[in-house]
Symmetry: C3
Subunit: 303 residues, 3 copies
């Protein structure tokens, strides 16, 4: 019997199945420093204990996207090792800050299955939850991936396509315990723009660009213990290129968004996401944002 | 109104103006480890808690140049985003060690202004101070940069060129509280040369060289939250090259100087500095030192 | 007198000589995070405090190979700066876990000398020990290197070739105090294969590959304060290539071995090792293992 993990194929998933992902991970100031070395992250709440303490937190948490990447990375050996494509994200919520010293693990529940008409692949929807060492859910999201079948003759499962919210109900978003922007220091935060300064339909060109190197995206992706071969092994694609982990680009975009959204300190939810085009070393990544909604109970930007 | 930071232009500076820079930063063992990954740093006082404790300190501080880079990085969005050239440094002093857990922020005071004769640019002198979370100044230095004017028609300010000390008065240098080299272990420090072994005029070729990679200088520069576009975005220069942050070269040189100056444990002051030539990925950096002064109250090398 | 370290030549070693290596090093969560960024390390005991605590340890130690690299790195300026080749390893034992906050230093004892028949080089055998701040030996190993003579006319020393064990006596291997796999969570560890599932002669192809970048191997090697010039300075070899530190490849192989040996949590001993071929940036490293021995007192894999 082969000892190595071949990954799951489409016919290995069943509706309602819960997969406990391996290799829990403790984060420290080391992951935080590396995050700042790999991404131009400048949001003050994640940069400074003193700033976070003035906002009512015990210390600066690690970046929301560190939590995402660690939780996501654990799922790769079970969910996307044989994926043809990572199709989308929905219903993402950050529920508890993650602090240096916390240990994260994750589980995924299969909530949808649909075999493709070619009979060779299918789409799997999972709801993934990341938990800390106390068993508290720190974040969750839905993602769906197209996965190869091992045996094209395997019977198709009953098609179940989950209904996913287009927008996370703002009432379901979480504000970290103790967070209080009464003494928020707008000068130290870096920009004067407050909640009322943004308008629906406004677009912001975040101006800065980052030309990406192989060593950077591999170090980042490895740090999240993402094991997808295409990110690390130049022999996996016919063109000899290493595909950059989509989450690396998400983190670059979020970090670049500081320039114009410096006061959007925390990510509360993720309504939708897609990896629209591949990214390779040598590419220069830029970012822009559009203000889509105006929620008067939006609590995380100082008013 | 554009939400992004266009940086200040020459006419935006006024004499005596004090700029509080944004994005305070907490450093940890993570920044220390990255410093050792990015530079061949070997000075024992910054490598070992046990060595530092034997020298009377509570633990090993982070490298003096970590303090410098963090303090400097904060100033970039306000001082040098539209700089044509970073002209020089003077009157640098390290006043307090920085420890893992400390939060640094910085302020700059405009101490000199001089419009250039072409009317398109001017020189701005600032004295920058870095403070820890207790408000103590951990380091300070003067730097001057050539900055573009937004409007060439803008009136020139009164010319004020500050008088800067050629040499920091040794009486103004700081010795960290508790530092005591009575039990200094010269074997663990790595070299036998003590203060009395160096002579004025002596030059030391530090022998080793480091060939620099794009990923390395970008990770370093990002870690210090330096936002200057030319370091990260290959589309900013006509030649497609990313200019290496001058401070990266300073840290390389200081680290390389271990080989011949292993007992010069701490940087007490910076009398002058200039970025003489640009450095690009692929270049191999070497270093040499010349002993310029012989101060009998030089306290930081074991006698 | 030159202040820089020229390294020792063959005639500088004498049998029984004990060399105390310089620059002690404190490790933290930063070194741990960098290790995970530089190598695809996934063994749960070194990834998660919670997992390690469930196994009876106070917290997750740093990877065994962090201990090895730090201890080894200190020896380079004294043992292998003028080495022509790093010939082999034997009798390696890991005796105490290393924890964040520990400070490591190392000493080497010359246990063998043999001048080569060409009279220009010789082989030096050393037994190197790494100690923590309490003076406890955390690991030790024997290595032998071929070193240049400074003066080919120098007299040859008496030839002493140490007898080295082909296999470390299992009774001499150490099990960390408190380690208890009674509550071992095989799901979180990532693979179902236990001790009884492996057979002598079985080979495991670890499947995954890593294409190596210059920035990665230099950051790793620098982090271990290894000063060998060929790893960093592209001008040292006629072909302009930087030779990758052999230990970098060892760490890559060990990390890749997770896929098939996920439950081999700790390295207890190293019977033999050789750097069979050079590795350069751009190479893709893969790994395979062969089960050589079946020790019924093997204690570190859950039975």
């Amino acid at each position: 019997m082969a000892k190595t993990n071949p990954g799951r194929f489409f016919e290995d998933y069943t509706l309602g199945q819960v997969i406990e992902h391996a290799v829990p991970r403790t984060v420290s100031g080391g992951e935080r420093a590396l995050y700042h070395a790999l991404y131009p992250a400048r949001h003050a709440l994640y940069s400074s204990d003193a700033f976070a303490q003035a906002c009512g937190l015990a210390a600066s948490p690690v970046d929301d996207l560190i939590a995402f990447h660690v939780v996501f990375g654990k799922t790769v050996p079970d969910i996307s090792l044989n994926a043809v494509a990572n199709l989308g994200y929905a219903e993402g919520r950050w529920l508890k800050p993650v602090w240096p010293g916390d240990t994260l693990r994750s589980t995924s529940e299969v909530i949808g299955l649909k075999q493709n008409s070619n009979g060779k692949t299918g789409v799997v929807w999972v709801r993934t939850r990341g938990m800390n060492q106390a068993g508290e859910t720190v974040m969750e999201y839905v993602r769906w991936v197209m996965v190869r079948k091992r045996d094209v003759e395997a019977a198709a499962p009953e098609t179940v396509v989950p209904e996913l919210a287009k927008v996370v109900d703002p009432g379901d978003l979480a504000v970290p315990a103790g967070l209080d922007f009464t003494r928020y220091d707008i000068t130290l935060a870096g920009e004067p723009h407050r909640w009322g300064d943004y308008e629906v339909g406004e677009t912001i060109d975040h101006v800065d660009g980052v030309t990406v190197e192989e060593a950077e995206h591999m170090m980042a992706t490895r740090l999240w213990q993402n094991t997808s071969k295409v990110h690390f092994d130049a022999s996996m694609r016919a063109d000899g290129k290493r595909l950059i982990y989509g989450g690396h680009v998400i983190s670059l975009a979020r970090a670049l968004s500081f320039n114009g959204l410096a006061n959007a300190q925390m990510i509360a939810g993720l309504n939708a996401g897609a990896h629209a085009n591949p990214c390779f070393a040598g590419d220069t990544v830029r970012a822009w944002s559009e203000v889509l909604l105006d929620l008067d109970y939006w609590a995380l930007m100082p008013v």
